[in-house]
């Protein structure tokens, strides 16, 4: 019998195999990417009006708690009602078109619909008050919000990211006074870290990685 596979065919087969492998790989990757979070990290989502944390926090120096009033007491940091915005903006930039939705909502009583930037799955129970009261500064999760003209997600919010802090929180804690300070210094030395842990009484942090700490 003659050769079943001449040299050319063999070559073709080899190339074909490689191509097939590459193709499946790309397909898998793109699929994984497609099922990722809706608001990509670093990309500010569309909002009803172009609110700038940079302006309010850095330029005006407004405290986080002025608008997010629940952050120390509740799981939900709280979003300012239109009336809160209007305490200033009934006077400032009244006629700027950008503020039309705000005034409209105040007039009609129809609520503003903000797109959630840091969206956790429904089976995750994050509690702002718990973190704030234990000295986790805003910036640890929200990044330098004071440098964001438009608000975007600063962290991956994946479980491994949560765990990275829950496993050894020491390096992420600041003094109670500094929690809302965007320039707060994180403890550098081992000693400082232990000091913070001791201060917030999380020396035994077994329960920090309990499933039940975040999932119910």
């Amino acid at each position: 019998m003659a050769q079943v596979f001449d040299r050319g065919l063999v070559l073709a087969l080899k190339i074909g195999t490689l191509v097939a492998i590459a193709l499946t790989a790309t397909l898998l990757v793109s699929w994984r990417w497609s099922i990722d979070y809706p608001n990509a990290q670093g990309a500010p989502p569309q909002q009803p009006l172009p609110f700038s944390h940079q302006h309010h926090v850095r330029d005006d120096g407004i405290d986080c708690r002025y608008c997010h009033s629940g952050v120390e007491k509740s799981a939900f940091a709280g979003m300012p009602g239109s009336n809160v915005c209007l305490t200033c903006h009934s006077q400032l930039f009244r006629d700027s078109p950008a503020f039309a939705p705000l005034h409209a909502s105040a007039r009609t009583g129809r609520r503003l619909q903000w797109t959630r930037v840091n969206d956790l799955p429904d089976f995750v129970y994050f509690d702002h008050s718990a973190h704030v009261s234990h000295g986790v500064p805003c910036k640890e999760c929200h990044g330098r919000i004071d440098q964001m003209p438009l608000t975007a997600r600063a962290r991956s919010l994946e479980m491994q990211w949560c765990l990275s802090c829950h496993r050894n929180p020491g390096g992420h804690l600041v003094s109670p006074a500094a929690v809302f300070d965007m320039n707060a210094q994180l403890p550098a030395s081992r000693a400082e870290r232990r000091a913070q842990l001791a201060h917030y009484d999380v020396l035994s942090r077994k329960w920090l990685t309990d499933c039940s700490t975040c999932h119910r």
Binding site: M1, V4, V10
Partner: protein, 175 residues
């Protein structure tokens, strides 16, 4: 070089075995023998042969087993220790089955992989397949081939030698 070697065809395993012995005795070293089924003693007849498959298999087994146990220990004790039903993180008795299975898997993969690699398979294209008659090598014919890469290879010499083994036919294999 022009050709792959000189091929002789035989009707039975015993003839092939005999031919192999005599060819080697004649001083040829690069000899190959082809048969439709494993013929006992043929390899030895062709010259010294060391079987590395068992060693490879052992290595595979050890890698699989050790790797398996390490994986379990690392994930259950180091990576994310969780209190499961009050059992200790390192509950070694429960780690045994997976360790065993992975040892077997490793060994088997190494055995087969080793066999293929050492045999240089797959080799879809091979000069021998250019020989019309060679298709019978997988049916009922037995072949002896003296490679032209052999130090003492000389087409005429080899042909005469092979003829002397009264084969069914002798033929040069083009490269």
């Amino acid at each position: 070089m022009a050709s792959y070697g000189m091929l002789a065809e035989f009707a039975s395993a015993d003839e092939l075995l005999e031919a192999a012995r005599r060819t080697r005795a004649a001083g040829y070293r690069r000899i190959e023998a082809y048969s439709p089924f494993p013929v006992h003693g043929l390899v030895e007849a062709l010259g010294p042969h060391r079987d590395r498959i068992p060693l490879l298999t052992l290595i595979g087994g050890i890698l699989g087993g050790a790797g398996g146990y390490f994986m379990q220990w690392y994930s259950a004790v180091i990576s994310f220790p969780i209190n499961v039903g009050g059992r200790p993180a390192h509950s070694w008795p429960s780690f045994i089955p997976v360790t065993f299975e992975l040892a077997v898997l490793g060994a088997a993969l190494f055995a087969v992989g080793g066999m293929l690699v050492l045999n240089g398979l797959p080799t879809l294209y091979h000069p021998l397949f250019n020989v019309e008659a060679f298709e019978l090598a997988s049916r009922n014919r037995f072949y002896l081939c003296v490679r032209c890469s052999d130090a003492r290879y000389d087409a005429v010499e080899v042909e005469r030698h092979l003829e002397s083994l009264d084969p069914l036919l002798v033929q040069e294999v083009p490269a």
